[in-house]
Point group: C2
Chain length 360, copies 2
C-alpha cells in the first residue's frame, strides 16, 4: 500500500470505530508524520486526499477537522473498493458467477475491480502484489490450482495482516484459515455417484481434476458413495487430469480408455470433461448411455447442448456470486463474521445415464 | 480390541504409571466385571492371561496380586508388539527401509508384525480394522495415496483414541496431527531443480506424482527453486502422474513429450520416473543428457544402473527405517514425545545432467 494511503486508511478506520467523531481535530502534520515515520509531504498528500473525499476540512491557521456528518454515516455511505480475482478458466461458469457477484456489490454501492490469473501462479503472484499496493476494502478471489501446494499463500496472509478481509469463491486452500463460498463439492461427487448406483451400476469409473480442490473433493464424494454401498474401490478406474490435460484431452485418450475398461458408468469432474468424454467414446464406437452411462457436475449450457444431454449436479452460478458478495460485505462490516458457505446439491436428470444392463 | 485385552491393557498401564505396584491386590472379579461392564468369564480370561504373562499371582482364597518385580521393570522388559503397515510400492526403497526399521525394533526386544496395503484404500481400511482388534503397542504406517483425500483417516484417529501411538513414515496426511519420519521432500525437489539451474538450465520441466504427498512437496520445492532464480513458472511444463500412470508409463507418452517441448532439463519425481523417461526420450531420438538433462530423487540402485546413470537426491533408506523405529519407541515411553523428523537432503552427481548449451 502506498504510504499516504496508510494514513488515509488510519483516519477512516478511526472514524469507523468511533475514535474520531464529527468536528474532532486531527493531530498536527508534524505529529502525524512522526507517528507514521513519513515525510511531511506524504502527510500533506494524505490530508489532501481526505479533504477531496469530504472527510476532512482544513480550517485556516487552526488545523484539520472531521467534517460534520462523517462519523455516523461515513462507513455505510463511503464507496467500498472490492477486488475480484478470478481464473477465467471455466468459461461456461465464470461469466454467470461474476455477474451475480458484481451486480450484488454494485447494488451495495461498491466499486469493483476485476483481475485475472488465468490459473497461473506467476499471474496470481503479480495480481496479489498489486492488491498489496492498492487501497481496497475487501478481496474475493478464486484460488489458483488449489489441489496442489501454492507458493502464493504468504501473499494472501499479508493482505489479511493489513486488515483487509479475503473470501475465496469456488474453492479454497485448506491450510489457510480463509473462508470460502462454494458448491459442497464432496456432496456433488457423491450425488453423481449415488445417481449411477441407483441405476444399478457398480463398475463406475471416475475422472477428476488433480490440480484443483474441487476435483479432490468430488473424488472424495465418489469414494464415499461407493463405500456406502459396499462397492470395492478400484484405484485403476480413476483418472486424474490437470488443467493442461483438460485442454489437450486427446493426449489422455489411451489412459482414459484403459481405466474405463469393464466399467458401465463414469462420474465426470464437470460438464467439460463429460462433453470431451462423450466425443472420445463415440469415436471409439462406445455408445453413451447404453454402454457407458455418465453423470457430471455443473449443469451448464454444455450439459443441455451435449450430443447426449448430460445428467449433471446443479451449480449455483449467479447465486454463488451473490452469496460471495454478500458474505464479503458482512465480513467488512463485522470482522468476526464467518464467511464460509457451501451450497447443497441437487441433480438435474437428462439422457446420459440409464439403468445398468450388464451383469456381475 | 477383544474385551479381555482391554482389562489386560488396563492392568499393564496402571503398573506402568505407578498406580499399581509389587504386591498390590487387584479388585475382586465381580468389581472388575462391573467396572468394565464385562462378564465374569471375560474377567477370568483376562486374569489368567495376566497370570501366564507372569504379571499377576493368584493366592488361594485371597485374590490376585501384582507379582513382585513387575512394577519397576515390567515396562522395559515386556515385549512390545509393533505393527508396521507398508504399501510395498516403491520396491527399490521398501526392503531397505523395512530392514532398518525391523532390525532396530527387534534390537529393542519388540515383536514386529507387517501388513501391506498395496497402496489401495480398501486394503488400508482392512488392515486398520485388524489393528483395532489386535493388542498392539504402536503402529508405524506408510500412508496410502497421501496426496488426495483419504477416507480412512477416521480409522487412524480411532487407533490413537485407544492410546496407541501412530507414526507415519515416507509421508503423512496433512490434516491429521500424526507425526512422521520422512525425507524433507520440499528440499529434495528444490535440490534437484537447483542443481539443474546451477548448470545454466532455465527451461526445466517437472514430472511429479499427484496422488502422494511426496510428489506434491517435491513439486513445491521445484517451484520454489525456479522462483528463487526469477525463472517464470510454466504450468504447461509440469506433468502429474498417479500410481497407475507410473505403472503404465507409455500411456502418458504424448502428454509427457508435449509438456517437455522446448525444455532442456527435467526434474523427475524419483528414479523410476527418470528411468522410464530416459527410455522414452531415447526411443524418440532425444539424447540424455546432451539434449535433455535429468535430475531425480532416491539415489536407488536404479540411479546407478540406468542407461545414463542418474544424478539423484539421496534417500536415507535404512536410516529412515531406524529413525522411525526409534521415534515410535520414544513415543511409547513418553506420550508427549514429538516423533516428527525430516531428513536433510544431499545430491549424488552422476552423468544425467550437463551444462546447458541452449540459448534463450
Amino acid at each position: 500500500m502506498a504510504k499516504y494511503l496508510e494514513i488515509v486508511r488510519w483516519v477512516e478506520n478511526r472514524i469507523k470505530n468511533g475514535e474520531l467523531a464529527d468536528g474532532d481535530k486531527l493531530p498536527p502534520e508534524n505529529e502525524l508524520g512522526a507517528m507514521f515515520g513519513y515525510s511531511r509531504q506524504t502527510v500533506r498528500h494524505a490530508l489532501s486526499v481526505l479533504g477531496k473525499k469530504g472527510i476532512l476540512e482544513s480550517r485556516q491557521g487552526s488545523g484539520n477537522y472531521i467534517r460534520s456528518g462523517q462519523s455516523a454515516v461515513s462507513e455505510d455511505t463511503r464507496e467500498k473498493r472490492i477486488k475480484v480475482i478470478s481464473t477465467y478458466i471455466n468459461s461456461y461458469l465464470f461469466p454467470r458467477v461474476l455477474q451475480g457477484m458484481t451486480r450484488t456489490l454494485e447494488a451495495h454501492g461498491c466499486s469493483v475491480g476485476i483481475a485475472f490469473t488465468y490459473n497461473h501462479i506467476d499471474d496470481e503472484k503479480r495480481v496479489l502484489e498489486e492488491v498489496l499496493g492498492e487501497d481496497v476494502d475487501g478481496v474475493i478471489a478464486e484460488p489458483v490450482m488449489s489441489g496442489i501446494p501454492n507458493v502464493n499463500c504468504d501473499l494472501y496472509e499479508k493482505i489479511r495482516e493489513k486488515g483487509i478481509p479475503v473470501l475465496f469463491f469456488h474453492s479454497y486452500y485448506p491450510g489457510l484459515g480463509i473462508p470460502h463460498v462454494s458448491l459442497n463439492d464432496v456432496e456433488a461427487g457423491k450425488a453423481a455417484a449415488e445417481y449411477l448406483i441407483s441405476l444399478g451400476h457398480r463398475r463406475i469409473a471416475g475422472i477428476f481434476k488433480s490440480d484443483d480442490g474441487q476435483g479432490q473433493r468430488r473424488y472424495q464424494g465418489y469414494v464415499e458413495a461407493l463405500r456406502a454401498h459396499d462397492i470395492p474401490i478400484r484405484e485403476s478406474r480413476v483418472v486424474w487430469l490437470d488443467t493442461e490435460d483438460e485442454r489437450n484431452f486427446t493426449y489422455s485418450r489411451d489412459r482414459i480408455l484403459n481405466r474405463m475398461k469393464g466399467c458401465t458408468a463414469c462420474v465426470c469432474y464437470n460438464d467439460e470433461v463429460a462433453h470431451a468424454l462423450t466425443g472420445l467414446l463415440q469415436e471409439e464406437g462406445i455408445a453413451v448411455p447404453n454402454e457407458v452411462s455418465l453423470a457430471s457436475v455443473d449443469n451448464s449450457e454444455l450439459a443441455r447442448l451435449n450430443a447426449v444431454p448430460l445428467t449433471s449436479v446443479i451449480h449455483p452460478m449467479e447465486s454463488l456470486g451473490e452469496r460471495a458478495a454478500e458474505n464479503l460485505l458482512a465480513m467488512i462490516r463485522e470482522p468476526d463474521f464467518d464467511g464460509t458457505y457451501e451450497f447443497p446439491v441437487e441433480i438435474k436428470v437428462r439422457e446420459s445415464a440409464v439403468r445398468c444392463r450388464a451383469r456381475g
